[in-house]
Symmetry: C2
Subunit: 303 residues, 2 copies
Amino acid sequence: MYTPKNIILIVILIFGTNSLLSQENIATKLGYPADSKLLIIHADDLGVSHSENIATFKAIEKGFVNSASIMMPTPWVLEAIAYAKANPDTHDFGLHLVLSSEWKHYKWGPVSSIDKVPSLIDENGYFHEACRTNLNLDEVETELKAQVNRAYAMGFEPTHLDTHMGCVLQTKELTELYLKIGQMYHLPVLVVKQLLTPELKNKYNVRGVVDYFYNLTPETYDKGTEAYYANVLENLKPGLSYFSIHTAYDSDEMKGMTIDHPDWGSEWRQKDFDYFTSKTCKELLEKENIKLVTWRQIKAVYY
Amino acid sequence: MYTPKNIILIVILIFGTNSLLSQENIATKLGYPADSKLLIIHADDLGVSHSENIATFKAIEKGFVNSASIMMPTPWVLEAIAYAKANPDTHDFGLHLVLSSEWKHYKWGPVSSIDKVPSLIDENGYFHEACRTNLNLDEVETELKAQVNRAYAMGFEPTHLDTHMGCVLQTKELTELYLKIGQMYHLPVLVVKQLLTPELKNKYNVRGVVDYFYNLTPETYDKGTEAYYANVLENLKPGLSYFSIHTAYDSDEMKGMTIDHPDWGSEWRQKDFDYFTSKTCKELLEKENIKLVTWRQIKAVYY
């Protein structure tokens, strides 16, 4: 249900294949040579569980994760917000906009009042398990703004916006809404070059567009986490690349949370943690002369 | 903030000291000699965390916990409900009615739409941290009914009702509302003899009233969990006694959840688990000829 590859295919079908854009050179804007290999190593899902929080904090402090985003509707969000507020000037802390609650036994629902967003919830008042394309757009806008406003109300200024499970990229209308929210709050949004027509880019004044998006899929995971990431790092192209990863400890809490769902599950997340805190990863980043950059830097030059 | 001893004092002040009632003999109703020592060993807070859930399931299966109650607004409630539905005829599974969200970094809010219950929530839409006496009673009724209705809507029939942190016992009006909800759904409610005037008992037709309520307090905890429980068991009186305990594993999840709050904290709950799964406890229950009874049995004879 998660696979960004599918999302990319869906969006290419919607936008057409003429959406491969050239864009301004981000590297030179950030003070690097024009052909630099820039990389954001981004941990999704902060707030989702204590394990995800403490592993991600560790992966930021001792490893190479330099960007993360927080899910405002989740039970552990206050722990993530407290950490982000205590570390305001270093790495990225954005908002991982949420429209789904995908685990079997562990749930969350909207930040807004549930009677205002009936199309977004299931019979128990939680978000639906999977992304949906038939959501009421006004309700989506109400909820996404509520998530951003809640962050600011907590005294937390996000560095960027991105999307949990790609739910806001499921249709052209949802994608436009996502870009509009970014524009409204003057925040960079994670969007991949392939998914952006010139019209949308101009309409919502999108800057800091990601050239290459990478994440593990069940297929690549089966072949080995380390093999996948090493191969990507060894073949990284000039431009802005983005790793969407999930760092957590393979604890009882995570095993319980991800029960019956090995994809993006507890072991999966432990392996992401292991790789992005490893000496192997460190050496490869250095050997390939990869420049780790942040949304914070992109925001500073473009927003 | 939690201490039932304080609640008892408050309610005695409200109801007066003439509320010590004689009641029908529960022991004979349940088929035991009239002077039997009956005991419910009740684990609170099912649903609050994965650790609390799996430890309590274990304490039911391998230990002497014979009754538990589920917090409908909590993140892990579906895991607790699934277990209760898979084990429908054995131990108690009631509802632990919730009006508070007491931990620092880990939160939940109402089951009902938050714009319908403004007096129940904080600025982030969560329940208040502590019990409050100035809640709007209509909103409390809306929320408590929503919690019970949600349980039934999930196909789960609770055996009884009780109260998280005693929040519904903070005033006479709240107590009446709690008794009214029990009457409305034909469910036994946990209420201690001292807290019940004859008028309230008759008005809400309360049956199965607990004679003696026991729980660890910070003072008794400091003197040793095992010493406290052993002393209570050795001196149990004839009538219906009730242990309110909290069983969880002292895991990272629980340490994170109960951070800055050792009272009712992670180690505290591990010690409850350890005692109520111990050979010492088993032998003492046998030696003292204590009869473990359930709300299920009480419901069967009175409701």
